[in-house]
């Protein structure tokens, strides 16, 4: 059952023009994204900085309004919802952030941080009920009830992220967008948080959108993977097929570049790093977004942007892929 769907989604920002009366410029961040996600499934979105994955994540929740295209929740176009309906609907669609401590209001106790969303989502609840729900959420993420009286600055990174997850869970969501949730955490804590998310998915049938630059972590938690580069989807495939054989040169470059704790493997890769850098989003290239760094680049790549083509259950945007 499809929960979330996007059609030809474009997201951009208006940057203020210089000067009082000059026209604002348009900065397009995300181009033409099509995805659909069912309950109990995880979509992993991978890419480096500037690829637009965080912007996409926020657009999925309508924290940013798209500039073109549609985001459908439960079949209904989110743009057609009134502000009031949207606010109430937010209990279904939640988000957790990369910097877990910054995501908590430093002046509020954890109990209050957890129960505040209920004031919006379920206004009929009494204060005692809200406190009980907060305690229940703490329990779900493996924290003791006495955490409710603490303040954010008393928490470690891992604990703060659990609170972030608890807050997302409080309204009994059906989908959670996870924006680099473990990048700021130590390795041993990363593993704990990822396991927690997977447990919650199993027990609650949660759909997850897992945004990360870490291919290894994405592999564990995702059912399907989407690779983004400069705002465009360059590859979209089921997890196992993707990791067994990535089709797009950028996907291959990403996998090559991930350092693994295996000295023999690393030594064999030494000196094979991809040269150059990606152009900035302010100056998108005319042809393929990866042309400036692709080892297999041809003249055609610089002038003609490849469309996302399907290869069975997989999609990739490159002129030169053999299925």
């Amino acid at each position: 059952m499809t929960l979330l769907q996007t059609r030809n989604l474009d997201v951009g920002y208006r940057i203020a023009g210089s000067g009082l009366l000059s026209r604002p410029r348009h900065l397009a961040i995300v181009h033409n994204v099509n995805l659909s996600l069912a309950a109990g499934r995880t979509l992993g979105i991978v890419g480096e900085s500037g690829c637009g994955k965080s912007t996409l994540g926020r657009a999925l929740l309508r924290l940013i309004a798209p500039t073109a295209g549609q985001v459908l929740w439960d079949g209904a176009d989110m743009a057609a919802m009134s502000a009031q309906t949207l606010r109430r609907r937010r209990s279904d669609l939640q988000i957790i952030f990369q910097d877990p401590v910054a995501a908590l209001d430093p002046r509020m106790t954890l109990g209050r941080i957890l129960s505040r969303p209920l004031v919006t989502f379920e206004p009929g609840l009494s204060r005692a009920n809200r406190a009980a729900r907060a305690a229940e959420a703490l329990h779900q993420v493996g924290l003791s009830a006495d955490f409710a009286a603490r303040y954010p600055h008393e928490l470690s990174g891992g604990q703060a992220q659990r609170i972030g997850i608890a807050r997302a869970l409080i309204g009994k969501p059906r989908l959670i967008v996870c924006d680099e949730p473990v990048s700021a955490l130590d390795v041993s804590i990363q593993a704990q948080v990822v396991n927690l998310l997977m447990d919650l998915q199993d027990s609650m049938g949660l759909a997850l959108v897992f945004i990360s630059h870490n291919l290894s972590v994405v592999r564990h938690i995702s059912h399907e993977v989407m690779v983004m580069c400069l705002g465009r989807v360059v590859e979209h495939a089921p997890r196992d097929a993707f990791y067994a054989r990535p089709l797009h040169p950028y996907s291959r470059a990403l996998m090559q570049a991930v350092p693994e704790p295996d000295p023999a493997r690393e030594r064999s890769r030494a000196g094979q790093s991809l040269p150059g850098e990606l152009p900035s989003a302010l100056n998108p290239p005319a042809g393929c977004v990866f042309a400036s760094r692709c080892p297999g680049v041809q003249p055609r790549c610089r002038t003609e942007r490849p469309e996302l083509r399907s290869f069975g259950t997989r999609h990739a945007a490159c002129h030169f892929i053999e299925a």
């Binding site: 990174g157 290894s216 693994e260 040269p275």
Partner: protein, 323 residues
């Protein structure tokens, strides 16, 4: 056998915070040979960065470093500021984690590079400038001569980090300290920068101490590894044997908790229970005891000594005997 470049004995770093003493580094001893790359890996709170700061004389005002660090016949920890200045930037260099804030935003890049040469090696402006441009070229900054006249904000993160590497290696130091140099960079850029460090280091003959939390980075670059926890060395040894056969429970746990692309995709990640220890009063026993799956009663009461268990391998664990 060549003499050691750096000999650290019983290094301890503590901070005075609100009247109490907090220990960050607790009796660490190690050697660095000329030209070798030593990795110090640990999670947050392990004290790894403080080791570098104390060697470089960059500890915060409320920190004290005790012990000995013999470098080129002098004890770095006991040097007066003037004497330390003659070592820093000449034979001892450092690069930092955040490329955004490590460069002076008000000076052109070429000037910042040349500064080191003029101050420490007494070169004239013209000669220093030429050397700076050559170095920028060497670190693969495109259009080096033009870029030398630009300001830091005109460079991307990866390029700024390369400028930092250029600055620190320009004076051809005997020892380079690198504090999480690639943590803030995208994965494909990280691979470039690591390769660059390896190449340049070999070419100039600089020894490198690389501090990181990323085991993959260590595997890629380091000849020898020290695993740090709670301010103490848990295990030390050459990279290959340590990664394939870790002896200390913490090292084992850390390696198991790191997700790899080559893992079979089991659903759950391996974890280490609990939260990484960060500072505080010194425990009587092993700092890892509270989280150790193999802990026995003596672990809580007595510090395990760092014992030799093989050629160049040392482990601090009661459960691991001698060679």
């Amino acid at each position: 056998m060549t003499a050691n470049l750096l000999e650290v004995r019983d290094l301890s770093v503590s901070f005075r915070l609100a009247g109490a003493e907090m220990t960050a580094v607790d009796g660490v001893s190690f050697d660095v040979r000329p030209g070798e790359v030593l990795g110090i890996v640990g999670e947050s709170g392990s004290g790894k960065s403080q080791i570098l700061f104390s060697l470089m004389g960059l500890l915060a005002a409320n920190g004290t470093a005790r012990g000995q660090a013999m470098f080129q016949g002098q004890n770095l920890l006991a040097l007066a500021p003037r004497a330390l200045d003659r070592v820093r930037g000449v034979s001892l260099s450092m690069i930092f984690q955040d490329p955004m804030t490590s460069l002076n935003p008000y000076k052109r890049v070429g000037d910042q590079l040349a500064e080191g040469l003029r101050v420490h090696k007494g070169m004239t402006r013209a000669v220093a400038r030429a050397a700076a441009v050559r170095m920028l070229d060497r670190v693969r900054i495109p259009d080096a001569a033009i870029r030398a006249g630009r300001y830091p904000h005109e460079f991307s993160g990866g390029m700024r980090q390369r400028v930092m590497i250029a600055m620190s290696l320009l004076v051809r130091p005997a020892l380079l300290l690198a504090d999480e140099p690639t943590t803030a960079l995208d994965v494909t850029i990280q691979a470039q920068v690591l390769d660059l460090l390896a190449d340049l280091g070999r070419e100039i003959g600089t020894a490198i101490i690389l501090v990181t939390h990323d085991l993959g980075v260590v595997a890629r670059l380091c000849d020898r590894v020290i695993v740090l926890y709670g301010g103490r060395i848990m295990e030390e040894g050459p990279a290959d044997p340590l990664f394939t056969d870790p002896r200390h429970p913490y090292a084992r746990g850390l390696l198991q908790a790191t997700p790899r692309l080559t893992d079979p995709p089991t659903r759950r990640l391996n974890t280490i229970a609990g939260t990484p220890r960060s500072g505080g009063a010194t425990l009587p026993g092993c700092p890892f005891a509270p989280r150790c799956p193999s802990r026995i009663s003596v672990c809580d009461t007595t510090r395990p000594a760092l014992t030799e268990t093989g050629p160049q391998r040392r482990v601090a664990c009661h459960l691991v005997g001698g060679p």
